[in-house]
């Protein structure tokens, strides 16, 4: 997943980075095809080049050696709302067929079965980044037809398209999972299966998604990680396997 996510990034892009796999993916991209990637963290570090794998998005290693450190008002107003962010990475406990994400509650908001952390900056990343990429392991629990709570809007939410809502960004263009990659339909914004990992059958994916997943006519095959990508991840970027637990 991390390698596939890293390949989504183009050199020189401005990426709003979340912690965990997105952070690893961004640093892998920097170390391979995208040395000019500018990493922006909601904590206020711009152009960070962390010397160690940051354990949180507020890690001191994101500050030391970065290009700029500014307050959170600037991050949200000038960078995100200002339209300066090209890619945002998002994940969540639940993702639905339009890429709506729930990181707030499982069950009812007032009487939740599981209380999750909430939005943080995810709502505004989903609204303002020019495009977003979602990363999540496949399971029917994580991919219901509709989420219990919309924390971050996808391509269609509450009966309206992004355009009708007046959202500036293009929304989630891809969902990168551990078995295949879903892409947003140009027609209605629904997530469709577009690529499979080597050795994964179509049913391995569809059986783990809570809606009737459409598959594109010609499914692409995801290229496996090459030796250099694996070496960087395992030996340089996350030798302690903080985030790489089988991904």
């Amino acid at each position: 997943m991390t390698v596939v996510a890293a390949r989504e990034l183009r050199d020189g892009e401005i990426v709003f980075v979340g912690i965990g796999l997105p952070n690893l993916a961004c640093n892998l991209a920097r170390a391979t095809h995208a040395p000019g990637l500018v990493l922006i963290y909601e904590s206020g570090a711009i152009g960070a080049i962390p010397e160690r794998l940051p354990v949180s998005i507020g890690d001191p290693s994101l500050v030391t050696g970065s290009l700029m450190v500014t307050g959170m008002a600037d991050v949200f107003q000038l960078f995100l709302q200002g339209g300066r962010i090209e890619v945002g990475f998002l994940g969540g406990a639940q993702i639905d067929k339009y890429g709506n994400i729930n990181t707030t509650v499982v069950g009812d908001y007032e009487k939740p079965k599981v209380r999750l952390p909430g939005s943080g900056g995810a709502a505004e990343i989903a609204i303002h980044a020019r495009r977003t990429v979602i990363i999540s392991r496949l399971s029917t629990r994580a991919f219901p037809e509709s989420v219990d709570y919309i924390t971050s809007p996808g391509n269609r939410s509450k009966g309206k398209s992004r355009k009708e809502w007046g959202m500036p960004g293009a929304g989630p263009v891809k969902v990168i999972t551990d078995r295949g990659v879903l892409c947003a339909s140009d027609v209605d914004g629904e997530m469709e299966l577009a690529a499979l990992y080597p050795g994964v059958a179509l049913e391995d994916v569809t059986s783990r998604v809570g809606w009737a997943l459409r598959a594109r006519e010609s499914l692409e095959m995801v290229a496996p990680p090459d030796a250099e990508e694996l070496r960087l991840l395992r030996e340089v970027l996350d030798p302690g396997k903080l985030y790489l637990k089988g991904s």
Binding site: I19, S43, V55, T70, G118, S119, G120, A123, P153, W165
Partner: protein, 315 residues
């Protein structure tokens, strides 16, 4: 490098010092029922102040903060809070805040919540700081956040007719900010992550600045662009080295990630959590006694030196 105060505040020769002990500062500026903010995004979170609030058994507090973090989990577990106003309630890089979850999922203890996104909280503090009744932002379209929080409203642009989200000003009774250094008047300098400390402080009726290092005013005046919070809005200055542990202070000490990980187990079980508070919070009289319970801490986490060059203020 800096002219650190080595003796009592009086040693600095400043007439109207605001320097108080943590006990005095909390006793004077934090009252039952108050709206209280201990800000800091991962960086410079003043655990020392939170612990003193627990020791002084404050009740019915309305706790506000973008990222409640472990210190608010402890305040919730210690039954200090009536309500939490927040945008992300997790253990950063680790997982859940279990005391918070028990309160919200099972009402033990009961806790009212008022929830925004980070941008919404930043906007609430910005409005409070600027003495505006609301702050406009492009946010929340298509989400359930304004459904569960009716305080998120809409405002119409008088120029374009567009409808934007609006959040109300947040004006806490007291904000506690941890800083690397300040003078005895509270002119505080912070570097590294700045979070929303400036906005929260300006939004507050009272401000307590807690510092790693009390410095003479000449240190502040030598680099005025570094000052984040001016003394004119500060009520009390508390000198509390390592007061942000287990969070961190850039240039002083690293984050104690081991403790953040350990908290997951401590907080999962109410009895374990209670005995943690008994030993490390109620069982000590102040932060220096807390530090004696953490042998090797200061060597394990002390920052290495990576000084930047100064700049020329001459003319």
């Amino acid at each position: 490098m800096s002219e650190a105060a080595t003796g009592a505040p009086g040693a600095l020769g400043i007439a109207s010092s605001k320097v108080l002990s943590m006990r005095e500062a909390i006793a004077r500026y934090v009252h039952d029922g108050d709206t209280v903010v201990i800000e800091g995004f991962t960086h410079l979170i003043c655990f020392a102040a939170g612990h003193e609030i627990i020791r002084q058994k404050r009740r019915d507090l309305v706790l506000c903060r973008l990222t409640p973090d472990l210190i608010y989990d402890q305040l919730i577990a210690a039954a200090c809070a009536r309500k939490l106003v927040f945008s992300w309630a997790g253990n950063p890089g680790v997982g859940s805040l279990h005391a918070f979850r028990r309160a919200v999922e099972r009402g033990r203890p009961p806790l009212e919540i008022e929830e925004y996104s980070h941008f919404g909280m930043v906007a609430r503090f910005s409005a409070g700081a600027a003495h505006l009744p609301f702050w406009p932002l492009r946010d929340y379209q298509g989400t359930d956040i304004p459904v569960s929080n009716p305080l998120i409203k809409q405002v119409t642009c008088p120029f374009t007719g567009e409808s934007l989200a609006a959040v109300p000003a947040l004006n806490p009774d007291v904000t506690i900010v941890h800083a690397q250094r300040a003078d005895a008047e509270g002119n505080a300098q912070i570097w590294g992550l700045l979070g929303v400390q400036k906005e929260a402080a300006f939004a507050s009726k009272h401000v307590i600045v807690v510092v790693e290092e009390l410095v003479s005013t000449s240190v502040v005046r030598a680099d005025p662009n570094r000052t984040l919070i001016p003394g004119v809005i500060v009520d009390a200055v508390v000198v509390e080295p390592w007061g942000a542990h287990p969070s961190y202070a850039q240039g002083h000490y690293d984050r104690d990630n081991e403790f953040y990980v350990a908290w997951d187990d401590i907080a999962r079980d109410p009895a374990t959590l209670a005995s943690y508070l008994d030993k490390y919070v109620m069982g000590v009289s102040d932060r220096s006694e807390y530090l004696t319970l953490h042998e090797g801490l200061t060597t394990r986490l002390a920052a290495r030196d990576m000084f930047c060059a100064g700049v020329n203020y001459g003319y």
